[in-house]
């Protein structure tokens, strides 16, 4: 899964039937520190996320279709969570006298 930030919505009336009644969110991709990586994706919302929120993106087709109970849908990327916090262990420091 990936981290993203919702930056907007995509509105579409002419689309594949699997997208009827679904909300599409435009999401910037983030690194774990919350900085944009430069990439973006359009994802189907499953949690009611809104603009500005940091979200968890599922980017795998079989999982996405299982979550939506939509076998055969041409959908790969979903917003599956709203992120409250990301904590990272500090990078391990080389110990003096220890292995390099």
């Amino acid at each position: 899964m990936k981290l993203g930030r919702v930056v907007g919505t995509v509105v579409s009336t002419i689309n594949a039937p699997a997208f009827d009644e679904r909300t599409l969110l435009l999401c910037d991709l983030l690194d774990p520190d919350g900085r944009p990586t430069g990439g973006y994706t359009i994802a189907v919302d499953t949690v009611g996320a809104g603009a500005g929120e940091t979200v968890l993106l599922l980017d795998e087709g079989n999982s996405a279709r299982q979550v939506l109970s939509a076998p055969g849908a041409p959908i790969r990327t979903l917003v599956v969570g709203i992120v409250d916090a990301v904590e990272e262990e500090p990078a391990p420091q080389a110990q003096p006298g220890g292995p390099a």
Binding site: V7, I14, P36, G61, G72, P74
Partner: protein, 94 residues
């Protein structure tokens, strides 16, 4: 899924089985500011409504074939929607 602009059409009479009747369009993938990003692609039109000049979104990989009536076709990019409006919240503009 990514955004793209349709830039042309592809006509091919000799095609792999399964591609008969599939409309092929040339698309230019875009970044979210609608500037071209990367090279042009040939994509199948899964909605039968897209045409040159239109802003669309497309899926790649296995999901592209899933968008077609027969999901076992040699298609790796498919247009699955025409964009009516793209709203980007002002506070998160790049």
């Amino acid at each position: 899924m990514q955004l793209a602009r349709v830039t042309g059409t592809v006509v091919a009479t000799v095609k792999a089985p399964g591609l008969e009747g599939v409309k092929l369009l040339v698309i230019q993938p875009l970044d979210r500011s609608l500037k071209p990003a990367g090279g042009q692609l040939v994509a199948a039109d899964a909605i039968h409504m897209a045409g040159p000049g239109e802003l669309v979104y497309f899926v790649a990989a296995r999901e592209a074939a899933q968008a077609m009536p027969d999901p076992f076709v040699p298609v790796d990019h498919a247009i699955v929607g025409i964009v009516d409006a793209l709203t980007v919240a002002p506070e998160v503009e790049p």
